[in-house]
Every structure is written in structure tokens, then in C-alpha cells.
Amino acid sequence: MQKKEAQPALLQKYLHNIRSNPGLYIMIILPLVYLIIFKYIPIYGVQIAFRDYSPARSITASPWVGLKYVKKFISYYSFWEIMRNTLVLNLYSLAVFPIPIIFALMLNYMRSAAFKKTIQVVSYIPHFISTVVMVGIIMQFLNKQTGVINQVIQLFGGNPIEFMSKPGYFSHIYVWSGIWQGIGYNSIIYISALSGVSPELHEAAIVDGAGILKRIWHVDLPGILPTVAITFIMGCGSIFNVGYEKIYLMQNNLNLKVSEVISTYVYKQGIASTMPQYSMGAAIDLFVSLLNIVMLLLVNRVTKALTESSLW
């Protein structure tokens, strides 16, 4: 009895909602259609992961092989090494997540507006350096013979180090060069959020005798917490994606055991090989997506409990 009543109630609820908020529904049509056409229709292609796809056939004409490629990936000799490397680099990148926030806060309290603007523009530039040139610069700076870093080390009396040859340094080089490239660009969102923090709250805090640090802790941070939370959750949700290009260019024989990640492996098996493995690539992508989703749901739940803001 209850179910029967519930169903028409739901429908009623939707119709009523449409009638009272027609504008919203009209608005949402645009993105809805976009999603359907460009995201959901091609989604039928996800089945490539379960078929033996060859580009000259259509997808449905390719034979169904089930979990063959997923199994193949998991049983790959270096599978655990690859997973570990991917995770390490990602967690490390995530751990330094607060740095752009701190940078934004520092800028926010910089007195000289001119200096503030200058630093901002300069910090924003590295984001636009293409990966190829970026890696080239990294290699030149770290070069044992001629690199700047080693010259500075020698100035302080140390011995030059061939950084790129030591697997131990790889993750640090990767992450910190990423910070250098991204600190400015990533802080933009926080600067914008900080500018939305009510000045009244600051005034009130000052009247209460709070110094800058206290104000940061009690006014600014809570004010940008939703943005931080969302950005953090989203970051966790792509924890298994590490872009291949920068790592691929930084790989060499000596650091391969820490530098081979999922995306470089897929790249080498896929496009770079003479026989692109679309199905393998799709299977791995799917596998990675699932891991990401699990991670996302987990972190979302935790963040919700801790901060009351979350994606859902």
C-alpha cells in the first residue's frame, strides 16, 4: 500500500517542482544535453575494456573477452611496482596540497599591493611552461657538472650529486618541480575564496584583540574551508591518475624502478608500441577509475564528518 502511494508522490513532487521552478529546469537542459551527447553516448565505448577491440572493426563486432585484459594487467610482473610508484607520487603530491593555500594566505597579508601583484604574476607564469621545456630545465639545473643546484652545493662546500641517477631523489624532484610550476596557478582559487571572506568578521576579530595568526585560524581558514575541502576531495578522486608526459621525459634506466607509473606503462603499451592495445588501455583506465571512485567516496565521507562540507 505504501509503495503505491510513494510512487505517485515522487512523480507529483517532481512535477510540482518543475512547475514552481521552471527556470531552473530550462537552465539545466543545456548541460544535460551536453552530457548526454558528449559523455554518455560515447560511454558505450567503455565496453572496449571487455572486448578484443581493433580499430578497423566496430566495437560491437569485436569479440567479448570479459575480464581478460584486467587480469592481464594485474598479473603483469611489475604490476605492484607500478601501482606503488603511482600511489607514492600521488600521495606525495597530495601531501603538499596545503602549500598553495599557505602561499595564498601569505599574499593576502602582504602589505605592499605592488609587490603582491608582482609576485602573483610571476608565480603564475611557470604554469605555462610546456612539459618538454620544464623537464629540460630540470635536467640542466640538476646536472652534476654544470647545473645551478650543484654549483650552489659546491659553494657551501658540498660534493656535487647526480640527482637524476638516484632513485631516492626522483619523487622529490618530481613533486617539488610540480610545486614550483603550480604554486601560483593553484593559489588563484584560494585567493579568490579569501577575497570572499567577510571583512566584518575580520573587524570583529580585531576588535576582540586577535592578531593576524589568530585571524587566519579563526576567520580565513573557516571561510575558505568549503573550497579547500572540495579541492581536496577532488584531488583524492584522481589519486591514481598521474599524467604520463612529465614522468616519461624524466625516466631513465637508473630511476625506472620508481618512475614507472600506470600512465607511462599504458602509453608504452598503447600509442608508443607498434600494436596499440586499445582494450588493454581501456581496461586499465576502467580499473583506475574504479579505484579512484572508491577513494573519492571514502574521502568524501570522512570530510563530511569532519567539516560538514562535501560533494554530496
Partner: protein, 297 residues
């Protein structure tokens, strides 16, 4: 609320903070600046291979820039990129607002459904070939639409915008607007958008930059060289895939390598300029809103 008002109540603890803050920022500034100066210097240098600790170019030369200006494809690439960026950003912002705003309204019944729909697309995608086929079916191959449409709404950006709408537009505003008989759409145009300068600027910037840098769509959908964006031309010059070099005949690979060496720094400078100039404009919008007054009043 001007700057001076903010600073007049500084105690000694705060002054120390400012000094330390300033010092740290200067250090960060130097670390950020040094490699950039290196690039600028290298772009004016005849041979990029001889550079030590000093920042002055080994042999001053404009050859790098001359090569860039003479490479005709760069200019068509530039114009194309600007067009794609403008059109794409406009399209993206519209789509994003049309999605983020309804999702931020608590009285929108389809909220959770739509949100889930969006989130799924972040993780599952058909992949290269099905998307390609869809684009082809729509007759968009080799056109601007293939570049700006498929990726036009980033769910990530949409969520950030939605969060902003949810948290930065106080409920009191909506309550008082409703009392005045204002509907959702009117609220959007008369109150929300004017107060969302900061987020629109930021998300707009993200889309603009994303569009400017994007190359993959152009790579697979465009065959007419006249439509190529700058990013493709750039990659052709910088030859990311060195394995290809070995496959080519020696003379070609040497010529390409030489060209790359000559142009790699100057091309970065030339191609990044427009985007760099956007930021100062965008910055204007990061100003505290006047809305608090509206609620109180």
C-alpha cells in the same frame, strides 16, 4: 574597507609576522623568478648549451625570436588559439553556470540525480574512438566545434562554482528576494551573478587557460593545417616524442633538432604572453563584494 584600515590595528606580534611573511615571500619570489630569468636569457642566447650560474646570455642573439616570427604557422596558430579560447570560454562559462546554479538551489528536486550524472562522467568515459565517432556523426570533424564542444564543461570547475554559490551567497539574500516575489532566474541575474565576480573570473580563467593549452582534441579532429591552434604547432617544434626522431631520416631529424634548440625558449615566451596578460585583468574581480550591506540594509 581599505587596506589602511585593515592594518592600523597591528600589535607587535603582527609586525613580526609581517616581517617574516615579507622575508619568506621574497625568498619564494627569488626561487620562482630565477628559472624564469634563465628562460628569458636563454631565449636571447645564441647557444643555449653554455649557461652557468650567471643569468646573462652567453652570446646575445635574436635568432631565436627571428625564427619564431618567420615560422608562419605560428601566426595562424596564434589567431586560431585566440578564437578557440574566446569562444570556448564563453561556451564553457555558460554551460557551467547553467549547471552549477540549479545544483546550488536547495529547492531543485533533480539535484542529487544531476550531480550523480555529472560525477559519473568524471570517471567513466567512452574513450578516444567512441567520442571521435560521435563528433564525426555530428559532422563536426575538422571544425572549431570539435575543439570546444566535447570538453566544454569541466565537472570539476562546475563543482567549485556550485560550492561558491552555495556558500558565498547567504541564504538571507534568497529569503528576502523571495519575499519580493523574485524567482530563481531573476535571482540569478540580478543578485547572484553580480556578486559572483570572483568565481566567474577564476573559473573563466581556468577555462581560458585550459583552452589555450589544449592540443589533444586538435590533434585528432583537425586535419586542415590552417585551423591548427598554437599548441599543436608548438609540439611540432618541440618534438616531444624523441623516439620518432630515430625513425626519421638523419637530415630531417638533425634539422628538426636544430630548429627545436633554436626556438624552444623564444617560442615559450611568445606563446605564453597573451595568457599572462589576462591575469592582471582577472585580478580586478577578486574584490570583496558589497553584498553584506545589502543584507543588513
Amino acid at each position: 574597507m581599505t587596506n589602511s584600515k585593515k592594518y592600523q590595528n597591528y600589535g607587535s606580534g603582527d609586525r613580526i609576522f609581517c616581517v617574516v611573511n615579507g622575508f619568506l615571500l621574497i625568498m619564494i619570489f627569488i626561487i620562482l623568478l630565477y628559472p624564469l630569468l634563465f628562460i628569458i636569457s636563454a631565449s636571447f642566447s645564441a647557444d643555449t648549451t653554455v649557461m652557468g650560474l650567471s643569468l646573462l646570455p652567453g652570446k646575445f642573439s635574436l635568432a631565436g625570436y627571428r625564427a619564431v616570427f618567420e615560422y608562419k604557422d605560428i601566426w595562424t596558430g596564434y589567431v586560431n588559439s585566440l578564437i578557440y579560447m574566446a569562444a570556448g570560454t564563453l561556451l564553457s562559462l555558460t554551460l557551467t553556470v547553467c549547471c552549477a546554479y540549479p545544483l546550488s538551489r536547495r529547492d531543485f528536486a533533480m539535484r542529487n540525480f544531476m550531480m550523480t550524472l555529472c560525477m559519473i562522467t568524471m570517471y567513466f568515459s567512452g574513450g578516444l574512438i567512441p567520442t571521435f565517432l560521435t563528433v564525426r556523426r555530428l559532422g563536426m570533424l575538422n571544425s572549431m566545434w570539435a575543439i570546444i564542444l566535447p570538453g566544454s564543461m569541466s565537472v570539476y570547475n562546475m563543482i567549485v562554482m556550485r560550492t561558491y554559490f552555495q556558500t558565498q551567497i547567504p541564504d538571507e539574500l534568497w529569503d528576502s528576494a523571495q519575499l519580493d516575489g523574485c524567482g530563481n532566474i531573476q535571482f540569478l541575474f540580478s543578485i547572484v551573478l553580480p556578486l559572483s565576480g570572483a568565481i566567474l573570473a577564476v573559473i573563466g580563467l581556468f577555462y581560458a587557460v585550459g583552452n589555450w593549452n589544449s592540443y589533444f582534441s586538435a590533434l585528432i579532429y583537425l586535419t586542415d593545417r590552417k585551423k591548427f591552434p598554437l599548441s599543436i604547432i608548438l609540439r611540432e617544434i618541440l618534438i616531444t616524442n624523441s623516439a620518432k626522431l630515430e625513425f626519421m631520416d638523419l637530415d630531417t631529424s638533425m634539422a628538426l633538432q636544430e630548429r627545436q634548440n633554436l626556438m624552444k625558449y623564444s617560442v615559450i615566451i611568445v606563446s605564453s604572453l597573451p595568457v599572462l596578460l589576462i591575469y592582471p585583468f582577472v585580478q580586478k574581480y577578486f574584490v570583496k563584494g558589497v553584498m553584506i550591506g545589502a543584507v543588513k540594509g
